[in-house]
C-alpha cells in the first residue's frame, strides 16, 4: 500500500530541515513585517525599505537557484538560458502592472507610455486580457512553461545534452533578448517596463505592499523547497538521478528519459517564471538585459557555489553570491567582476560540491561521529565521475 502523500512529504525532509523551515517562516512572516512596519525608523532593529527590497529580491533569486538545481543538480541538464524564463515571468506580470498604471502615465493615455511614444493606437493582440490579475498569473505560468515544454520536447527527443544543450539554451535567451530589444516587439524595447503604480488597486511603493511581496516571495521559496525536496526523494527523483549519472543505462532498462527530463525542465521554467513575477514589482523594472546570457550563467554559479544536488546548497549559494554582489557593487564596484570571475574559477577547481560539500568534508575531517545529513544526499555527478588524476592534481594546486 502506498504511503499517504502527507506522510511522504513529511518524511522527505529530516527533522532539522523542518525546524529550519519553521525558523525561516518565523523570520519572513513575523519578524520582517514587524521590524519594517511596527518599529520606528530610528530604532536599532528597524529594517529599512532598502533591506526589505534587497532580501525580497534575493528570495526570488533563491527560487531560481532551486529551479536550476532541480535540473542541473538532479537531472544533469545545464541550462544557460534560465534567465529567459525568469524574465518571461517578469514580463508577463509586468504587462499587468503596466495596465494597472491606467491613465497615470506621463501621457495620460489608456495605452502604456511606450506605445503612445511609438504612436500605436491600440494594444497588440498578445496584450489581450492583461488588465486581469488572474489572466496575468496564468500567463506567468503558461508562457515560460509552454516555451520550455516545446523547446525541451524537441531538444530531449533528439537527445541533445551536456554542452550542446547548454549552448543552444544560451542561443535561445540571446535570440529572445534581441527580440525584446526591438521596439516593434511591443514590450517597451530597451527600457522595458517601469514606473509601476499599483497592484490590485493598492500602491506598489507602500511599506505594506513591500512586506506582502516579501512574504509572498518567502512563501514561494518555502513551497518550492518543499516541492523540490518531495520530488527528489520520490521515485521520480531517483530516476532523474539515474538519468543524470548514466542516461544510456536508464534507457536500456526500459525508462524513457524524455518524459522525466521534460517534466522537470518545464517545472523548473515555471518556477523561474513565478520568481520573475514576484521579482518585477519588488525591483520596479524589467528590461531585456535580464535575458542576457551573462545573467543566466550567473544563476548556474549560484548553484555551483552553494553545492549542486542539494537544494539547500542552491539557496545558500544564491544568498552568498547576491549579498556579496550588493556589498561589492556598493563598496568596490570595479572589483566585482574580478571577484565573480575568481569565484567561478575557484569553485569549479576547489569546491566541486560547493559550500555544502566543503561543510560536510570539514565535518568528516574533524572526526564527526556520523556523516552529516547533507553528505547522505545523492552524490553529485562531477564528484562521482571525477577521475583520480584530477583529484591528485587539484591537491597539488591547493
Amino acid at each position: 500500500m502506498r504511503t499517504p502523500f502527507t506522510v511522504r512529504l513529511f518524511n522527505s525532509m529530516p527533522r532539522a530541515g523542518w525546524a529550519a523551515l519553521a525558523l525561516f517562516a518565523l523570520f519572513a512572516w513575523v519578524w520582517v513585517p514587524l521590524a519594517h512596519l511596527a518599529l520606528p525608523a530610528d530604532h536599532a532593529l528597524h529594517l529599512s525599505s532598502y533591506w526589505v527590497s534587497l532580501l525580497g529580491k534575493i528570495l526570488c533569486y533563491m527560487v531560481v537557484a532551486v529551479a536550476m538545481d532541480l535540473i542541473w543538480g538532479y537531472a544533469g541538464i545545464l541550462s544557460l538560458g534560465h534567465g529567459l524564463f525568469f524574465a518571461l515571468g517578469g514580463y508577463a506580470f509586468g504587462m499587468y502592472l503596466m495596465r494597472q498604471i491606467g491613465r497615470d502615465g506621463s501621457y495620460g493615455a489608456e495605452l502604456p507610455d511606450f506605445m503612445v511614444f511609438l504612436d500605436w493606437k491600440e494594444l497588440p493582440w498578445y496584450w489581450w486580457g492583461t488588465d486581469s490579475f488572474l489572466w496575468a498569473l496564468l500567463l506567468v505560468v503558461a508562457v515560460p512553461g509552454l516555451l520550455a515544454w516545446v523547446f525541451g520536447y524537441f531538444a530531449f527527443r533528439s537527445r541533445i545534452k551536456g554542452v550542446y544543450f547548454a549552448i543552444i539554451t544560451q542561443a535561445l535567451t540571446y535570440a529572445a533578448m534581441l527580440l525584446f530589444f526591438r521596439n516593434e516587439t511591443g514590450f517597451g524595447g530597451n527600457n522595458g517596463f517601469t514606473d509601476f503604480k499599483r497592484i490590485l488597486g493598492h500602491g506598489i511603493t507602500t511599506p505594506e505592499m513591500r512586506v506582502v511581496l516579501f512574504a509572498l516571495s518567502a512563501a514561494l521559496l518555502a513551497g518550492v523547497l518543499l516541492l523540490g525536496r518531495y520530488l527528489v526523494t520520490s521515485r521520480f527523483g531517483r530516476v532523474l538521478a539515474a538519468i543524470r549519472d548514466a542516461e544510456s543505462r536508464v534507457m536500456f532498462i526500459g525508462y524513457n528519459p524524455l518524459h522525466y527530463k521534460l517534466f522537470v525542465w518545464t517545472l523548473s521554467a515555471v518556477l523561474c517564471g513565478l520568481a520573475g513575477a514576484l521579482y518585477v514589482p519588488q525591483v520596479g523594472i524589467i528590461n531585456p538585459s535580464e535575458m542576457s546570457p551573462a545573467n543566466s550563467i550567473e544563476i548556474a554559479v549560484w548553484v555551483a557555489v552553494g553545492g549542486r544536488g542539494t537544494l539547500v546548497g542552491a539557496v545558500l549559494g544564491a544568498g552568498i553570491v547576491n549579498l556579496a554582489k550588493s556589498w561589492f557593487t556598493v563598496s568596490f564596484p570595479e572589483y566585482w567582476p574580478f571577484f565573480l570571475g575568481f569565484l567561478f574559477i575557484a569553485v569549479t577547481l576547489f569546491l566541486p560540491n560547493g559550500v555544502i560539500g566543503l561543510w560536510s568534508t570539514l565535518r568528516a575531517r574533524l572526526g564527526a561521529r556520523r556523516p552529516a545529513p547533507a553528505a547522505a544526499e545523492p552524490p553529485v555527478q562531477g564528484a562521482a565521475a571525477e577521475p583520480p588524476a584530477a583529484e591528485s592534481s587539484r591537491g597539488a594546486v591547493a
Partner: protein, 541 residues
C-alpha cells in the same frame, strides 16, 4: 509634361542655327567664330528659362570666348549695357562676343544675378566645355555631370564627344547622357533609340527616368513603350545582380570573421572537449595587441605606421597564445572530462580578462586607424562598393585557414592533435604526449583567436567587452560545422555569413540574427553532430 515639351521645343528651335554652325565647325576643326549674337542676347534675358538655355548653349559652343564668358558669369562679372552683353573686369568694359574693349563706364552695366538654377546651368556649361578638354579625369567628371544634368542644348557636344572620344568608360557615360536628352525628343525613333540605349545602365536612378515611358498617357508610341519595358527589366536585372554580388560579398566577409573567431574554438573544443567561454576575450587580447603595436609604431617608426598591421599579426598571435597557455596550465587541465564545469570556469576567466582590459586600457573603445592601403574600396556598380579592409580580411582568413590546414595535416603535432581528438585514451596508449598536445593545441587555438582579433580590430570597435558579441556566434559555427572539423567550420562560417546577410536585406538585422539562431537550434535538433560528424561507435556522445 505638355508644358515641358513645348519648353523643350522652344529651346530646340532656338538652337537650330547653332547646331548647324557647330557641326560644320567641328568637321572643319578650325578656330571657332564669334558666338552667335542671339545666344548671347539670351544671357541677358529677363526669363531665367531662356537665360539658362543660353548659358548651356554658350557652353555647348565651346572655345576660348565661351569659356571666358562662362567664367565671367560665374565670377559675377557679366552684365548688360545698352542692349549688349558685356564683361566688366578691373573697371574696364569688354564686349562679351568679340572681346573688344568698349567705351563704357563700369557703373552703367547691370550685372547678371546668379541663382541656384543658373549655377546648375553653369555647371552644365563647364562640363560641356570640359568634355572637349585634354585630361581624362576632367572629361570623365564632365561626362558624369552631363549624364545627370544634360539638356537638349548640349546634345551637339555629346554627339561630337561620341564621335571623337576614345576612352570606352567615358563614351559609355556620354552615351547615357545623350540618351537621356533624347528621351524628350519629339521623334519617336530618337526616343526609341534613347530608351534602348538607357537599358545598358546599371543605375537605379535611370529606371525611374524610364518609368513614365511605360504609361500610354505620356508615351504615345507603342514601340517606345515596349523598349522602355525591356530596358527597365535589363536595368533591374543588372541592379539586382550587382546587389546580390554585394550581399554575397558582405556575407563572405562576415563569414571570414566568424571563421577566424571559430577556427581556434574548433581546435580547442575538438581536442579537449572544453567549451572555452573566454574565447571571445582571446579575440579581444589580439585586438589590444594590435592597438599596442600601433602605438609603438606611432612613437618609434612613424614613417612605417601604415604597416603596423603586419607587425600586429605575430604580436596578436603570441599575446593570445601566451594567455591561452596560462589558462590551460593553471585552470583548464584540471577540468578535463568535466565540460560543464570548464564552461563555468572559463566564463569566470572571461570576466577577469574583460575587467583587466577595462582597468588597463579604460572602459572606452580604443581607436585603431586603418592603414591607407586598406581604406577605400572597389566600386562594383553604382552603390555597390567592396571595401578593401574587408577584402584583405577575407584573404587573411583564407591564409590562416591554409596554415591551420597545413598544421593539422602536414605536421607531427597536427597528427597528434587529430589522434587526441579522435580517441584520447588510445592516443595516450600509443605514446602521444597528450598533456603536451593539449597545451600546444590550446596555445595554437588561442593564437588563432588572437589573429582573429587583429583582423577584427580593422573593422570593428575595440573595447573590453568586444569578445562577448562573438562567443555565441562562433559556438554556433563550431556546433553547426561539427566538432573538430575544419571543413565543417569553413562551410558553417561562410554559410552562416551569407545566409545572415541575405536575411538582413530581407528582414532587418535583428530579425535576421534571431532567425539564424532559431535555424541553428532547429538544425541541432535534427543533426546534433553538425554538418560533418566524426564517425564513431559511441552510444553516449
Amino acid at each position: 509634361m505638355k508644358k515641358q515639351a513645348s519648353h523643350w521645343a522652344r529651346r530646340a528651335l532656338f538652337l537650330l542655327p547653332l547646331l548647324v554652325a557647330f557641326l560644320l565647325l567641328a568637321a572643319a576643326g578650325k578656330a571657332r567664330a564669334a558666338l552667335d549674337e542671339a545666344t548671347l542676347q539670351g544671357l541677358g534675358a529677363a526669363d531665367f528659362g531662356e537665360r539658362i538655355a543660353a548659358i548651356e548653349a554658350v557652353g555647348a559652343t565651346g572655345g576660348e570666348r565661351a569659356r571666358a564668358i562662362i567664367a565671367a558669369l560665374e565670377a559675377g562679372e557679366l552684365g548688360t549695357a545698352g542692349g549688349r552683353v558685356v564683361i566688366v573686369r578691373d573697371g574696364r568694359v569688354v564686349d562679351a562676343a568679340s572681346g573688344e574693349a568698349l567705351e563704357l563706364v563700369a557703373d552703367a552695366v547691370d550685372s547678371l544675378r546668379v541663382n541656384n538654377r543658373v549655377r546648375r546651368a553653369l555647371a552644365v556649361a563647364n562640363a560641356a566645355l570640359d568634355l572637349e578638354s585634354g585630361e581624362r579625369a576632367r572629361r570623365l567628371a564632365a561626362a558624369q555631370t552631363l549624364r545627370d544634368n544634360a539638356s537638349e542644348v548640349v546634345l551637339p557636344v555629346l554627339e561630337r564627344a561620341l564621335e571623337s572620344e576614345e576612352d570606352d568608360a567615358i563614351r559609355e557615360v556620354v552615351l547615357l547622357a545623350a540618351a537621356r536628352v533624347n528621351l524628350n525628343a519629339d521623334d519617336p525613333a530618337k526616343r526609341l533609340k534613347a530608351v534602348t540605349a538607357l537599358g545598358q545602365s546599371s543605375d537605379a536612378g535611370v529606371k525611374t527616368l524610364l518609368e513614365p515611358f511605360l504609361d500610354p498617357a505620356s508615351e504615345p508610341d507603342a514601340g517606345v513603350r515596349e523598349a522602355a519595358a525591356a530596358s527597365i527589366a535589363a536595368i533591374e536585372r543588372r541592379v539586382s545582380i550587382a546587389r546580390n554580388i554585394g550581399t554575397v560579398f558582405s556575407g563572405l566577409s562576415l563569414g571570414s570573421i566568424l571563421l577566424l573567431a571559430a577556427l581556434g574554438l574548433a581546435i580547442t573544443y575538438g581536442v579537449m572537449g572544453i567549451i572555452n567561454m573566454a574565447h571571445g576575450e582571446l579575440l579581444m587580447i589580439g585586438a589590444y595587441a594590435a592597438f599596442l603595436v600601433q602605438g609603438l609604431f606611432r612613437a618609434h617608426l612613424p614613417e612605417y605606421v601604415d604597416w603596423y598591421v603586419l607587425a600586429a599579426i605575430p604580436a596578436g598571435f603570441f599575446a593570445a597564445a601566451a594567455v591561452g597557455v596560462v589558462m590551460e596550465r593553471t585552470v583548464l587541465r584540471f577540468l578535463y572530462g568535466r565540460p560543464l564545469e570548464s564552461l563555468l570556469a572559463t566564463w569566470g576567466i572571461s570576466l577577469v580578462l574583460i575587467q583587466a582590459a577595462r582597468v588597463l586600457f579604460g572602459p572606452q573603445n580604443v581607436e585603431l586607424a586603418n592603414p591607407s592601403w586598406m581604406s577605400g574600396g572597389m566600386e562594383l556598380a553604382a552603390g555597390v562598393v567592396l571595401p578593401w579592409n574587408r577584402i584583405v580580411i577575407l584573404g587573411f582568413a583564407v591564409f590562416v585557414l591554409l596554415l591551420v590546414w597545413l598544421m593539422m595535416n602536414r605536421t607531427r603535432l597536427g597528427m597528434f592533435v587529430r589522434a587526441v581528438t579522435q580517441n584520447r585514451a588510445m592516443a595516450g596508449c600509443v605514446g602521444v604526449p597528450t598533456a603536451r598536445v593539449d597545451t600546444l593545441a590550446f596555445a595554437i587555438g588561442a593564437g588563432i583567436a588572437g589573429l582573429g582579433g587583429v583582423a577584427l580590430s580593422q573593422i570593428a570597435n575595440v573595447g573590453p567587452a568586444m569578445g562577448q558579441g562573438y562567443i555565441v556566434d562562433s559556438f554556433m559555427v563550431v556546433v553547426l560545422g561539427g566538432v573538430g572539423q575544419l571543413a565543417g567550420a569553413v562551410w558553417a562560417a561562410m554559410g552562416l555569413g551569407i545566409v545572415s546577410k541575405f536575411l538582413e536585406g530581407w528582414a532587418g538585422a535583428v530579425i535576421a540574427k534571431i532567425l539564424v539562431l532559431v535555424f541553428i537550434i532547429a538544425f541541432i535538433q535534427k543533426r546534433p553532430q553538425g554538418i560533418f560528424a566524426l564517425k564513431g561507435r559511441f552510444a553516449d556522445n
